[in-house]
Subunit: 238 residues, 4 copies
């Protein structure tokens, strides 16, 4: 763990073959959650770390979610389109995504490792997967180039032709989300129902969140994920 | 215009080459908006249609948005993935989309008409666009089939392989949205900045909304779209 | 249980001494939730009630919340201001409240029953509680009347003078909310942490919801409230 | 204007007779909005301040709201209950309010200045307003004290008895809100329809926002408030 969570800012965590997660900035802390909750009760903060921890665990256990909204994270994400599509279903968050109307897609798509696809697929199958995606980009690229000299047609060409490209292609976006909504994201996207690829992102994000708000994260593990108390205690005692 | 907006329920409005918009159901009416606004003031409703109209126009002009939230629409939509991606950026709404993890994609993709793409593209270019999309599905289909006998690999195969398919492929979703949020959708997606394809959907939806809540729609045209008063008056007098 | 949930529309359920809950309208049903979920999987609906029930229970258990958003309720509520203050903290919903800037408050405030306040309070204490609230209204009324002849001062007088009135005074509002958000409301406002008065409202609302979407409600009881399976089975078999 | 917006953090801005606004913290800046918008287009930032300004103005004029969501403010607010009631109708924000279930209300209520109430009211009328509010607290205080020795009755006594107190009484809350939602708050609460008291708060908050994101604020003034271009240019050139 870094001596301060802000040391995480700007650090690039690679995910999948060409993606990443970067924490650009964050606002708030375990202490801020405690302060927000204590607006209610008027009791003093910071005197007793054990009482702070108890309060955070009490809030989480009793579904008092609002104090956790005062911690806000800002990320830059690079991921395949099919991952972004799952991601953006989370509505209590802010997104700004790269637009394929203004920018031409690079030939940059997700290739799963052998270990991450069913063993029934052969090396040749995987090669064919790659070839299809490469071919998509060749045609896309050629046709986009054809429109390039015509200022009045460029954007329309790009926006129609991107429809050729598979959702294995990478996109990028800015993502601002508060810790309460992030818990929901982590809960669903690290869970057994989530697709393997988005789980890799959710795991990195969970690791960042754990470093930024360790007590909140420990309470989340205990009461939302319902992990056994041992891990929880450990996290709480760090 | 139908004698009652509920006659619109279940009617399929075709959009693009293979898409549609269906109004499944709606809740509320111009009168309900007036009632909701008059909870504030306690004055009686329904006595004077001219006063109802004035109230709706006053609310819209002065950005009193909440009464418009009590009218709710439920649609079934079929559109290309690239359109769905733009659509689902609208967060104040509810979505349930077909999952390519559970269902195999049909070979069903959007083919723009010649008139809707830049004239610099030849017949052969358009043919190539189609060929790429067909080829994507051939490979997708073959590999999905290969996994079909293996119960433990089927879902994983489908969820990885769909990444081959371009966003021209069609998807379907349920969409529930209130009229306030719908105005924002219509304003942005019928506007000059919107892509031609989503505009076709937004136009059909706007036409449905106009029939369900004619006074609200007229006020929206006047104060949000800022259309000249003539069209507005017409709508109001219908 | 009524033969059809729409028989509930417009029926006034009294709550506390002078309040009420009215279901004005609703949209959707258990079947609609199943349909919305099956957009994902493409399997047919309505053939097998037992499979529908299983699907709803599966969705609830696995926190697939979105299909429950397609059921929407519209209520008219009358409650004390202090109850409304707790109520309106629920943000995923639409509100239109009576305005004390446009309407003069009646002398109508909440008087708790002896049984509902701590036994340490005497009859005289309760009398004093009432007297304070009556006196507030006397002064409020007198000063509002004083401004009544002056058109330019009326609204300002009302909006300043209402600050005299205790939050025991009754207010009214329209409330539109989907079933997913309603579950959160019911969970928190029928729970042990909720104030007795809002619990009375939440209980009536829960009873209405149970009649409108009995399977969804049974699944909510089982997986959100975590009630023992017996009650759940009963509800499921109704 | 301070040399850095973070010098504003923790500074207490008095509002009305006993209220305040404190900016606890903020995240983001004009540059961050530009960066978020340029994720779309991929063009470089920070090279040309004039282009940054143009981009922000373009986004605002064309209702591209999402880039403005990446700037987040965290405030501590103290205001009368009737102001808080109007405030908390703004749903796209996070609130944690002092609870009268856990804390006993001080005798601290809003007294308008003579200049701020209609001149038809006499000194004696204002005195009576004060007397009513004082009397409310006397009775409240006496009855709360009576329950104090009984641990099992304390909270219930406090939560019932607070209903006596007028909405002139002061409350406190934490408020986290992004700049997009804040624009909506400022637009409605500094406008002609807003009550004088909340306008005082909105003016202070607008002044803080202007110092934190001067270009965004200038664009808001120009395209949302539609102030004449002169003021706008001034703000842009600061």
């Amino acid at each position: 763990m870094p001596s301060s969570p802000s040391e995480l800012h700007g650090k690039r965590f690679p995910v999948l073959d060409k993606g990443y997660v970067i924490l650009l900035e964050h606002m708030g802390s375990d202490e801020r959650v405690v302060d927000a909750a204590r607006v209610s009760t008027g009791s003093k903060t910071g005197v007793d770390p054990e009482r702070d921890r108890s309060l955070i665990f009490f809030l989480m256990e009793n579904k008092h979610g609002t104090p956790f909204e005062h911690v806000v994270f800002q990320f830059a994400i690079k991921c395949p389109l099919f991952v972004a599509r799952q991601w953006m279903r989370h509505r209590i968050a802010s997104y700004n995504e790269r637009s394929a109307r203004y920018r031409v897609f690079e030939e940059e798509f997700y290739i799963p490792r052998r270990a991450d696809i069913p063993p029934i697929f052969s090396e040749a199958d995987l090669k064919e997967y790659e070839d299809v995606l490469k071919h998509e980009h060749e045609v896309y690229q050629r046709l986009v180039q054809k429109a390039q000299p015509y200022k009045e047609h460029r954007q329309r060409a790009r926006e129609v032709l991107r429809a050729l490209l598979g959702t294995a292609y990478y996109t990028e976006f800015y993502w601002t989300i508060n810790f309460r909504s992030l818990m929901n994201f982590m809960d669903l996207r690290t869970g057994t129902g989530a697709q393997w690829e988005i789980k890799q992102y959710a795991a990195v994000i969970a690791d960042i969140a754990r470093q930024v708000v360790p007590l909140c994260y420990a309470a989340y593990e205990r009461y939302v994920l319902k992990k056994p108390a041992a891990g929880d205690l450990e996290a709480g005692l760090r």
